[in-house]
Amino acid sequence: MAEFINASILNVVLGWFGGAVSADHWVGYAMAALIHATLLLLLIANAALLFIWMERKISGRIQDRLGPTRVGGKFGWLQTLADGLKLLTKEDLMPGGADRLLFRIAPYISFCASFAAFLAIPFSVNGVAWVGQHLNVATFFILAVLGLEVFGVILGGYGSASKWSLFGAMREAAQVISYEVPLGLCAIVPVMIAGTMDLVAIGNMQQGWFTNWFVLHDPFVFLTFFVFLTCATASVNRAPFDLAEAESELVAGFLTEYSGLRWSFFFMAEYGSMLAVSILAAILFLGGWNGPLPVTDWLGLNSANGSVAGYLGSLAGCLNTLAKGVLGVMMMMWARWTLPRLRIDQVITTCWKYCTPIVCFTFVGTTAWMLFLPNGLGVLPGPARPYASVREAGASAGPQPRPGSEVVARRPVPSGALGAPASSPDPFSLSADAE
């Protein structure tokens, strides 16, 4: 979004000041920051509203009930709003023995961690990138920041001075810290195929038909995708991995002593993280903003045909990303209301004895596949893979499977090539148009 806002909206807004304010002026920076932050906040807040309603409806249908039907019409659209009003009017309680500072600040820490992940998520790339901050290590940044969400949970559980809260927080800590390992390994597989951690470049490499999506790159990545989904569910602490708030044993875990607005901040953080990991999965494995078929390309919706066409193309891409993200969240809900809760030993066993070895195996398998079958088996229909052509261009210097091969001198360094790295042309020609 940064480029889009700076290029289009900001000029219009600055025009209101009659040209008295230049684009470099601090008003411009402040407004750009404000617009970015507000858009992302609105996204998280509205997503939470939608997801809580979806959760009620889906759980109702799975349990052969109707779910909410009255508030706001036939489908109970406004149920979440009514819930929110109820939470706002609740008394903000704090246990007598609680640590005041930690108890009060914990929900905001969780929410900030969840919010910060959205800063680096690109929603659409079509000439300009709709992204809060275009980081070239976005994958890594998002995983690092999402891991901090548990910090708020631990502080809240500890600060509550309640045994239920402390037990819940300890379980959550053990679980999240364990599952970060396979989650990071899963993210390495598509990063290795793309040769970059830049989510904009990763998404752009999956242009074309759905056969170009990384999930269909080879069987190992296909397997990795499901391990990623499992680990993502566990790392955002959703059922069947929701031991930290197991109501049958721990009352409500770390949430036991919370009420009202602080409680709802924890839930906003949880739903925000669910959306964040779902969109991350969509970009890493499912093509991100590229639809199953390149309809926007066929319609000519790119910035070469005027800014309106470019904007429509970006909007279609953004809707693609969000739809994939919401589908991912829906799958998590489906799992939650279908599977029974695991015990703590089963949770840790799943992580260390199944997920981690499987993803190590798929990592090695993908490496071997890229080395021996860099162009795939050719059984999938559709246009050529953009990243395959990049790789062939780099392969003329030797069998180097990475698109970034000119930059990274991996084997004994040829003495003549050393001056080249910093000045060599960017091999990610697809990402160049996004900058």
Binding site: W26, L102, N136, V150, I154, G419, P421
Partner: protein
């Protein structure tokens, strides 16, 4: 842009102030969990400084390793060993004096070094605006592999350097591996110490 605030400076001062303030708070407070909390805020502000400098990779590393590491320290170091509900630590006057001496010595050394090395002199504002930061982790990787991009350019044509590079003897890959093995040994040792001792049935 001559008028108005220079934003990088503003944010540098902001993050630096946050980092320093919470660093002092870590020292002053006597509550262990509060200490860990302030430490996390201080380290996160340092990560903000890295992001400000365009070192996105180092900033994300700072968050993952230092902030996340403090978290693990808090969980396993404090919560699992705590004997009382809320732990507090008392510091004696002698300890304050010793700590002030050691910390003051380090601080004066760092300040002296920071202002005496020519290459670390702060840029003037015109120079800073001319430098286009293009953040990339390539240089870090090249440095690890033994080809620090900022040096190689200067020493090109020197065949001795080329030979050393070709032999893989410069760079930081070997130290990196040694550190990695060291950490692995520490992990194995920790697992050994923490395991359940099985009593042999008599």
């Amino acid at each position: 842009m001559e008028d108005g605030i220079y934003w990088p400076t503003f944010f540098f001062l902001l993050f630096a102030a946050v980092a320093c303030a919470f660093g002092i708070a870590v020292v002053i407070t006597s509550h262990v969990v509060h200490m860990a909390f302030y430490l996390v805020l201080s380290l996160a502000a340092t990560a903000g400084l890295f992001f400000l400098a365009g070192a996105d990779f180092v900033g994300a590393m700072q968050i993952m390793i230092y902030v996340g590491g403090t978290l693990v320290l808090l969980v396993f170091g404090v919560m699992l060993t705590a004997q009382a509900p809320f732990i507090t630590m008392r510091t004696r006057a002698g300890e304050w004096v010793m700590a002030a001496l050691a910390g003051g010595a380090l601080l004066s050394l760092l300040v002296w070094a920071a202002f005496s090395v020519d290459a670390w002199r702060p840029l003037s504002r015109a120079e800073a605006e001319a430098v286009a930061v293009r953040p990339t982790a390539t240089r870090i990787g090249m440095g690890l592999l033994g080809a620090p991009t900022d040096r190689v350019r200067l020493e090109r044509g020197d065949s001795a350097v080329d030979r050393r590079l070709a032999a893989g003897m410069s760079g930081y890959l070997l130290p990196f591996e040694i550190v990695a093995i060291h950490l692995l040994i520490v992990l194995v040792g920790a697992a050994y110490l923490a395991r359940t001792r099985r009593r042999r049935e008599a």
